[in-house]
Symmetry: C2
Subunit: 599 residues, 2 copies
Amino acid sequence: MARKYVSKRNLEFMLYEVFDAPSLTRYPYYAHHNKKVFDMTLAAALKLGKDLLNPIFEEMDRKAPYLENGKVKVHPTVRAIMQQFGEGGWIAAKFDEMHDGARLPYLIADCCQFIFTAANYSASVFPGLTAKAARLITSFGSPEQIATYVPKMLSGEWQGTMALTEPQAGSSLADIATTAVPTDKGYYLMRGQKIFISAGDHDGVDNVVQMMLAKIEGAPAGVKGISLFIVPNRRPTSDGGLESNDVTVTQVYHKMGYRGAPITELSIGEKNDCRGYLVGQAHNGLAYMFQMMNGSRLSVGMAAIGISTAAYYAAQEYARQRPQGRLTPDPTGPQVPIIEHADIRRLLLYQRAFVEGAFALAMQCCLYADLENALEGEGKEKAALLLDLLIPVVKTYPAETSIRSTSQAIQIFGGYGYCEDFPVEQHFRDTRIHTIHEGTTGIQGMDILGRKVRMKNGKAFSLYLEEVALAIEQARPIESLKPYADRLAASLEELRTVTAALIARGEEKGNRDMLADATLYLDYFSLIAAAWQWLLQAVTAEKALAGNPSKANRNFYQGKVITARYFFHYELPKTLGLAQRLLETDGLTLTMETDYFLD
Amino acid sequence: MARKYVSKRNLEFMLYEVFDAPSLTRYPYYAHHNKKVFDMTLAAALKLGKDLLNPIFEEMDRKAPYLENGKVKVHPTVRAIMQQFGEGGWIAAKFDEMHDGARLPYLIADCCQFIFTAANYSASVFPGLTAKAARLITSFGSPEQIATYVPKMLSGEWQGTMALTEPQAGSSLADIATTAVPTDKGYYLMRGQKIFISAGDHDGVDNVVQMMLAKIEGAPAGVKGISLFIVPNRRPTSDGGLESNDVTVTQVYHKMGYRGAPITELSIGEKNDCRGYLVGQAHNGLAYMFQMMNGSRLSVGMAAIGISTAAYYAAQEYARQRPQGRLTPDPTGPQVPIIEHADIRRLLLYQRAFVEGAFALAMQCCLYADLENALEGEGKEKAALLLDLLIPVVKTYPAETSIRSTSQAIQIFGGYGYCEDFPVEQHFRDTRIHTIHEGTTGIQGMDILGRKVRMKNGKAFSLYLEEVALAIEQARPIESLKPYADRLAASLEELRTVTAALIARGEEKGNRDMLADATLYLDYFSLIAAAWQWLLQAVTAEKALAGNPSKANRNFYQGKVITARYFFHYELPKTLGLAQRLLETDGLTLTMETDYFLD
């Protein structure tokens, strides 16, 4: 049965009505594209999701990868996925022509990625990771490294990975202990252990290329001594073949969800024969990795939205079809579909307000990324700063909220939702990873409050306030939206106050005190950011409604306006309690000594 | 490795310091007990959890029940569990002496049940359900029915179940379609289908006794035509044997969690040879079932707390042992245990504030249940009304919050928490059932706002306000607690205002409008109820601290006081946004037409 997991109508609304993606083509950087190309790309992505990824959504979960004779076995379709994503140009979508890429805008490419994650998150990870790893090489690698690895990766023949985490170095990358010993043969001898490496090995490709963080012998302590290496599982030989590179998979983790993708534990250089190839300058690895981090974190947020979107449409469809209960006490009449019950509508509106609000925010970030590429000078800097500021938001707001959103999808199904017969329980399990990988929620909280709102003397934050103020000015003249414009204006003013108070506290009492509630600050910031995006969508919808649209479009725009109102009435008020707490100065969690947890 | 999943110290704090369980023995109904008995009972429950239930916590999940040749196979230890719970008197714990029961107070018996759910929720369900089913028979069955079924159930030889749900009748019990045709032989011929029946069949017992709702031919439509039947899977024969009663298991559901217990689909009377025995009066089945509902819903809440408590202790232990990161920027020093990080402490305090606050609320409900048993006249009525009022709270607040609480336990483990190596991912999966069974969250919201706060002209609600006001008066004289007493007083006043506004709206616009945000009202009510319980605990702890306690006790009480403050600073402020929304009168969700969800 064909199952709905994304709304083409909503994608078009975002791309063409709210954010005007085709306007990007007026810049030379994107001038080779036009709306027709965007349409065709979207259509192709939808088809790929429907034909290739979604049909094996459950199967990849039920038949999880496993280790056999030292090799990781994945679902047989993974090879077809990598091939088709390679041949179709999906892995190379955002790359330059010199790498045979389409140089697609983020707005379009990440829309496609969103479709893939909604169709089958685990499956989407194989090509997605490969693109990110290849990007590290094209950005910082030598021409020879690029020639050796990138074509095979972008064609889907080889898998790319990010190999950062170690047993003692998860959130604390300063503690990476994998070592690289220089040789006089142009490579380093690598030795160490990596854990939680996604797609660290599998039989859906001919080789795996690990982008690995390690420390060169004698390097400075901490993050300043980390270097980036290319460590293939099989290294290319001079005759064009491949030979073992002493990378051993010691475990495939058994995970609660996201089970279609193999997360591996790797032993590096057990036989002292693992060769690593330094990328760029020594000791500069973390900086390289961090330049890729924005994209990675945006992807995580997008995946959380994609998964939640799929769960939302499953729940919405079920709610329209499932009869249960009545609106009147008379038990002899027919039951009504549960969508008629106010509480079910509220559960659906909660999900829609989240998935479409968060998706809008992700699209806004994509636009900033595109403008950073397309513009020069001040415009470029502005786009880059706004993107930097919003990255922890667009990563964490979806990651955290998706847990509750997919949970509410289960709730609509009742007991059925708790069973494997419907996809929602898998969505709930799958999405739980997103608050953990690519920087935990706690790390993101410290990033926004400890670094982002203060960077460049608060310039990014000021620019952000201006952006939101602009949306408020657009909404004010529209009678029905004026109350919401006013609410957002009040929230924005409060955000300014709360932020200033926290920064002042940091100056007075130090970082630990300021950052104690950084995660709450991120929640708080996120709700206002999502309200901004809902106001923008409501402006677009109200303008369209004024133009006498078709019945289907009228329904769609009405739905948008009511969902926007839902966000302002049910979600934005959550800032009240958060602001109250953030303005308190008791440092409560710091007074809770470890011994007080004992009994 | 012995693993901590409950705190004996906290159980004693609740039973002996906050609620003074031994004082119950001054009433004739409980005069046969004393503190020594309570201590021994708790110790035995802790031992049973540790020796029998917890060792197979993971195994029951990994090796889920399955259907083989028409018979449900469960973990082999289930038979030992039923036997030991029968022989040890646990199934009969709350029953009268005439049924060979101990007539234990709820405070003690449910504390033990809490221990069992924390040790292994799936395992705890087999005896727990049996006790509830047996209680229905002792309450409403004939002497012959009692003699035939109850001894075998309380001894653990036979399993008891509640067979309510059907494909078209989940939340809407009015639509039950299983039929009962009278015969002249003293039984009814049953025919129909039941779904989601916990422990509907398994090989850990010799027989299963379904307490089944059905409609006698020609019964009135709706809930007024529902009758209660005993339908054993194997019926007793005149010669003391058992013969098939035409109850067929057609499916064992594959669930996300709670996998150790078989949830079954049953086909009743396929061969027209299924005999049901009417319990009590015809057409009165739902009333009987509802008299048991308070206990069932309290059990669900308790189980959600138990599971979350186990997850909390796992996370707390990990946080004290796992080194990661530093409090200073110097990367050369040793890493600190992650409990040193403010955000980790916040995550732990969130969990502790929930599990200990909700547990206190559950104990408070147990106390009301005990007083209802022990008292007569006005005192009895008061206790019964307070219990009735709080049942949707003590069911749903734990059920909903446990999702986030167990999720935060996973968060503390990082990537490890997402893997099967640690118990927390299973706790997260297990607890997700609790917002669904025994009445969904939506049903509970309608129950408290539509029925409970208004019943007897608001008498229960008035009594509740008095109870909370009493706690406030106890806290006010304690200097350090005065600010919290004041906060709770303000919240309580607001609760009165919000409740009155909603009731007035119902009178003006009707139930549908009043109940549209009933679930939010339940959230709102719950936060204030938990704050009440934290204030009570803080009063006890502050008084104890004033008495120069031992170092271990000082740490424990300090932890209590800071966790109480956490609740007031981080959780109670969530009422601000909820109150704002509840006082709005736009009926927003009702304006969202079904077509607006389409696109």
